[in-house]
Amino acid sequence: MRFTVEVLVTLKPGLADPQGKAVEGALPSLGWTNVHGVRVGKHVRFEVESDDETSAHAQVAEMASRLLSNPVIEDSRVLGVREVGRS
């Protein structure tokens, strides 16, 4: 079975996020003076072949922690595992 999956990678709370800070600094120039606490992360989407949804989820979780994120500075979360069809 083939699944589309999404992984969200975010910087650990408490860790300085210079990109988030830059975005937060830019928003007021557009008039958005009501924004605080911007954090920038990564969204990774791909398709994976696996026997069932549970094993797809487990495999993607491992990919997320071994490559897609660096557990020293980032958290990762498998967002959506959806079947797209049999292969």
Binding site: L15, A16, P18, Q19, K21, A22, N70, V72
Partner: protein, 234 residues
């Protein structure tokens, strides 16, 4: 016989040639190594050079970590062989777990390219064994992701075990945030592993060996490395 130091070229490495040239200038033998080879060609030490391996995609050093040569580098390091990661090489060592912590975007968000002063904090590494602790070296940095970060307990452990190798400082060795070019926690520019044979640093000693083109703070580090690997009782 001179010290044979391997320099790994990954796709996107930039400073491999300068590292090889620096090794030769300092009287060693530079041995080019290739990322796809599972062979270190019997070298006495390995340098992971600076640059943008695999375009720095995903995270700096994240892909290079899985290059075939890195398996050999890991075995070499576990056997006590000296492995020196410079800039992107430091990032690769952190990504591969051979060194703790991580290197993230400079606090200023800007790429920094200039000469800095570094205070040598320990002699318990191959590249600082012959340097006096507290000595200040002039060496250039050039990076966008050089801010060393780690959890507080990891930082405390590094300090307690004398594993901070270099700290950014002023010309007289004074440390303050004014002398910290990238926001690195505790001004850390370089660290070592528990046994001392694996060292990562953001500054570029290979760009600091030729008096015709800049400072020469890298000379002492290469000289120390060569002495270390040529010592009979290793």
């Amino acid at each position: 016989m001179s010290a044979r130091i391997g320099v790994v070229t990954f796709p996107g490495s930039l400073d491999d040639r300068d590292a090889l040239r620096a090794i030769e200038l300092m009287g060693g033998e530079g041995v080019p190594l290739w990322h796809a080879d599972r062979d270190l060609r019997g070298v006495d030490g390995v340098i992971l050079p600076g640059g943008f391996s695999y375009g720095d995609y995903l995270r700096c050093g994240a892909i290079a970590r899985f290059a075939p040569v890195m398996e050999e580098v890991r075995k070499f390091a576990e056997g006590g062989g000296p492995v020196i990661g410079i800039c992107n090489g430091f990032q690769i060592l952190c990504e591969s777990g051979l060194l703790p912590g991580a290197l993230i975007r400079n606090r200023s968000l800007r790429f920094v390219c200039r000469v800095v002063h570094l205070r040598v904090e320990t002699t318990e590494t191959p590249i600082t064994a012959d340097v006096t602790p507290g000595e200040v070296l002039e060496i250039p940095i050039k990076h966008g992701e050089g801010q060393f970060v780690a959890a507080d307990d990891v930082l405390d452990g590094l300090e307690a075990e004398g594993r901070v190798v270099f700290r950014y400082c002023g010309p007289n060795g004074e440390t303050s945030e004014d002398h910290n070019p990238n926001g690195a926690l505790r001004g850390i520019a370089g660290i070592r592993n528990q046994t001392g044979n694996v060292v990562g640093l953001m500054p570029h000693p290979e760009h600091a060996v030729d008096p015709d083109v800049g400072p020469t703070g890298g000379q002492a580090l290469f000289a120390s490395l060569f002495t270390h690997v040529m010592a009979p009782a290793r």
